[in-house]
């Protein structure tokens, strides 16, 4: 029963116009999961939000030479967890060094990671030679 149940591998150009598609696919997936009916809509929305923020960052902070590049997103459901991975080819960053947003400061930016942390159960960022990956997990059962 540790098998991956559903696996979605999405590759889109690194352009913000595809945020909507990625978010919509995540919502559809959430709607098929075995979660209580009253939680399904919230889960769908949270997934849409976390993915939108993560993919927007992957696009924004990818190397400027990568204008023909793509963003890859993997969504996997297995063993009661939904895991979402967003890959980028930029310089990477230290996620643990990003503080929780000070909500009293009215800055225009800096709420993306805050949203991801708020709606997902765990977030990790790994720099590897072949690229970076932001991995988010959420318990669904």
């Amino acid at each position: 029963m540790c098998e991956t149940i559903v696996n979605l591998d999405i590759v889109v150009p690194n352009q913000t116009r595809y945020l909507r598609l990625v978010g919509a696919i995540a919502e559809q997936l959430a709607k098929e999961l075995d979660v209580k009916e009253d939680q399904r809509d919230t889960l769908a929305y949270h997934l849409n939000l976390a993915l939108t923020e993560a993919v927007a960052n992957a696009i924004q902070y990818s190397a400027p030479t990568d204008s023909n590049d793509t963003v890859r997103i993997c969504l996997a459901v297995d063993d009661g967890y939904l895991s979402v991975r967003v890959f980028d080819h930029g310089g990477g960053f230290d996620l643990d060094a990003v503080p929780w947003t000070d909500l009293d400061e009215l800055r225009e930016r800096g709420r993306g990671i805050f949203f991801i942390r708020s709606v997902m159960d765990s977030v990790q960022y790994h720099k590897t030679e072949s690229g970076n990956v932001l991995e988010m997990r959420k318990k669904i059962a």
Partner: protein, 110 residues
């Protein structure tokens, strides 16, 4: 970004015609609000009734408008927030910062 602009008495209403505000169109929204304020609008109301989704960049665009309006002593109000959108303001506590009305009508009669 599709936005309907309308002047009502002394206020300019910007009705967002998109169901989503995200990094793809939030820059445009920010520019539009700034231009409207620069154009001398005494008060701006953003009607969000059709918006079902807003991300952090969308909140940023609205904050930009709020701050710019404050500098100019113009009014800046939001109307018609759908539940999902409203929850984003609550999560960031920005519902305590913005002037928020349940509907455009209530925003205009305020």
């Amino acid at each position: 970004m599709r936005v309907a602009k309308e002047v009502r008495d002394d206020r300019t209403v910007l009705s967002i015609q998109e169901d989503r505000i995200d990094a793809h169109n939030s820059g445009e929204l920010k520019d539009l609000v700034l231009k409207t304020l620069e154009g001398g609008a005494q008060g701006v109301v953003i009607d969000l009734a059709r918006v079902q989704f807003i991300d952090s960049s969308g909140l940023g665009a609205l904050l930009s408008g709020y701050k710019n309006a404050s500098l100019r002593s113009s009014g800046f109000a939001l109307a018609g927030l759908q539940p999902r959108v409203r929850s984003m303001f609550e999560l960031t506590r920005l519902h305590r910062v913005f002037d928020i009305y349940p509907s455009l009508q209530l925003a205009l009669s305020a």
